[in-house]
């Protein structure tokens, strides 16, 4: 297994459902052809540096995955078939993949993505102890001010 990174560009004037369907489709292709998807990175709509097929905007999605040459072959074959894809590019990141490290990375990514969902339940229990947060708040504010002043000093030093 090798580690790859693949970027594809969806025509920018297509609705979000189309973009989502490409994500689903290609993620499935990766996982059904001996690949393991590590993460997806959504760059959103960007202005293209030049016109492609008459459009000036494109939706960029990056997939980070581990797989074999067959995975990449199948993925790129499908990129070429799909009319919504205007550009694609696959790069090999490394030749060897440590499966354990890979699983750990996937877990870490999932956890990084989870907190927005996991945080609200965790944040709710503390409110009963409302007395506690208020004493905490004043010390927190000066520390942030300190941080701000610390941030400022280097810049002034540079200016001088």
């Amino acid at each position: 297994m090798r580690r790859y990174e693949s970027v594809w560009v969806v025509q920018g004037d297509l609705p979000d459902e189309d973009v989502q369907s490409t994500i689903d489709k290609f993620s499935r292709i990766i996982s059904s052809h001996g690949g393991t998807l590590v993460g997806l990175d959504d760059w959103g709509r960007r202005k293209l540096a030049y016109k492609i097929k008459g459009t000036t905007r494109g939706y960029y999605i990056l997939a980070d995955f581990a797989g074999t040459s067959a995975t990449v072959k199948e993925l790129e074959r499908n990129y070429r078939i799909d009319d919504r894809i205007i550009r694609y590019h696959t790069v090999k990141k490394s030749d060897k993949v440590n499966l354990e490290a890979l699983q750990a990375e996937i877990a870490a990514r999932a956890q990084a993505a989870a907190p927005p969902a996991a945080a609200p339940p965790a944040a709710e229990p503390p409110p009963p102890a409302e007395a506690a947060p208020s004493p905490e708040a004043p010390p927190a504010a000066p520390s942030s001010e300190d941080a701000a002043s610390e941030e400022k000093t280097p810049t002034t030093a540079k200016e001088e």
């Binding site: 970027v7 560009v9 960007r46 293209l48 540096a49 030049y50 492609i52 494109g58 960029y60 990056l62 550009r87 590019h89 790069v91």
Partner: protein, 85 residues
């Protein structure tokens, strides 16, 4: 024939350029990072030669490759859209 006064040769101060990627190991060359790569192309979108950019051979190769990859994905232009002169 009168001897022409030899013109004073213009002084060139050649500051030794150092490869910034060698100096700062934290800097990475990545085709996705078009803003960094933009420092290595001219206004016309041409790749700046090593002679001028000061990159070492190894890093220049990587920069060149990254720029070409970025162009492919329309992250960087082959020929910038410029207003007519």
């Amino acid at each position: 024939m009168p001897v022409m006064p030899r013109r004073k040769r213009k002084q060139f101060y050649v500051r030794r350029k150092v490869c910034r990627f060698c100096v700062d190991q934290a800097l990475s060359i990545d085709y996705k990072d078009a803003n960094t790569l933009r420092q290595f192309v001219t206004e016309r979108g041409k790749i700046i030669p090593r002679r001028i950019s000061g990159n070492c051979a190894r890093h220049q190769r990587r920069v060149t490759r990254a720029i070409k990859q970025a162009r492919l994905l329309a992250l960087m232009p082959y020929v910038p859209m410029m207003p007519p002169p």
